[in-house]
Symmetry: C2
Subunit: 223 residues, 2 copies
Amino acid sequence: MGDSPKDGGPVAPRKPFRNEGEETRRAALIAATLDCIGEGGLQAATVRAIARRAGVTQGLIRHYFPSKDHLIEVAYQALMDRLTEDSQAALAHAGDPCRRLGAFVRAVLGAHATDPALLAAWAGFVGALHRAPRLRAIHAANYLGFREQLDALIGAALADAGRAADAPTLRRHGIAATAVLDGLWLEGGLLPEAFEPSEIAELGLRAVAALLGLDLASEGSLT
Amino acid sequence: MGDSPKDGGPVAPRKPFRNEGEETRRAALIAATLDCIGEGGLQAATVRAIARRAGVTQGLIRHYFPSKDHLIEVAYQALMDRLTEDSQAALAHAGDPCRRLGAFVRAVLGAHATDPALLAAWAGFVGALHRAPRLRAIHAANYLGFREQLDALIGAALADAGRAADAPTLRRHGIAATAVLDGLWLEGGLLPEAFEPSEIAELGLRAVAALLGLDLASEGSLT
DNA sequence: AACCAAATTATACAGTTGCACAAAATCCGG
DNA sequence: CCGGATTTTGTGCAACTGTATAATTTGGTT
């Protein structure tokens, strides 16, 4: 909006605006960025498209972010924060370690897998990970954080079943479980028409249970 | 190269060229496209970058492909073909069904996970899947093909162990195993410094074995 | 009401992108 | 070695991109 000079009208009606707070505007720009990437990939997230979606003009982006790349990085971290928040919220009301692990798996594969925009945005970022060192660092931190979370849940569940595991075993279980969850999330998100609505989550529960030798499905599988 | 007019020299030394066959040029352009995407993501695969890497000028691309998007699609299919060829080649010398399954897993996680360019190229495509219907179709066909291949291997291995499975069970096993392989491939490719050289492949073998309740690791794990 | 700092808009600019098209080089059958 | 068809190059172009910066509006303070 407004990149080319005026043409017809003799007057230049400047767009009215309100002075929103800095945090509000930053959040709006980040949300707009994620929306753009989720809809059209990283290439669609141009400063003009982001600004238009946020209801501002493009110049404002540079007022709140030193560069577009910086905005992209912040948006990626925000997306990761959103994902981890969601899955951690599922742990709030759960006492039994096995139930906690099950709730976590269901949260990761249920709420997220059914939101194609989230996966699309994630995929957009992943496609740029190798060339952007800062994005790589964000990815590494979040991936390892996710695995630590899963490691803790798995360790607790195994201990509860009287099968406490040593560190290397726990590491292997964490990596494998993370892989199943990531893979199922990908499969379900990239090809949603190939699966039944809750099939991915059910499969994740079964798979993690098989990987660990635990019985997760029986405890409240229909919540 | 050659987008802006001449400047210094009064003569215009035109680049010499040879008339390569159509197939040669198409293959070179496809390979150049994959190289570009593998190095700098989809955004780096511009017509000029592709042409430069293929040793031609940009105009030739439009001579062999109706549009850049078409070239991207063809390159994606070519990448998938390469991946499946590699994993199928590993099945050549293997008789025992369990050994065949193990060889397949090792091929998927060994050769490919250690080639970051392949994963980078794949990630670049995945980031654009949602907005390009043709790319989506290619992805769907290849994903389902991969799963069918895995289903067959799993079915044979289970039958060989005297535990023949019905179709729904086989489907579940195939989806879960595909997820583990995809997830491990992603983990290892996106964060290679977080794993030991052959750790990913070993983990994949263990994970698939645990998912199916088979013993794959014992049979030639050190090949 | 007048002023000033901060927020926001609007415009400009150089570089890049995909594509179109004419000119030139190459190839190949006589 | 010539002549026509095909391949390949060279160049131009309109649209788009990120960034820079001046002009304008807003919101509070006095």
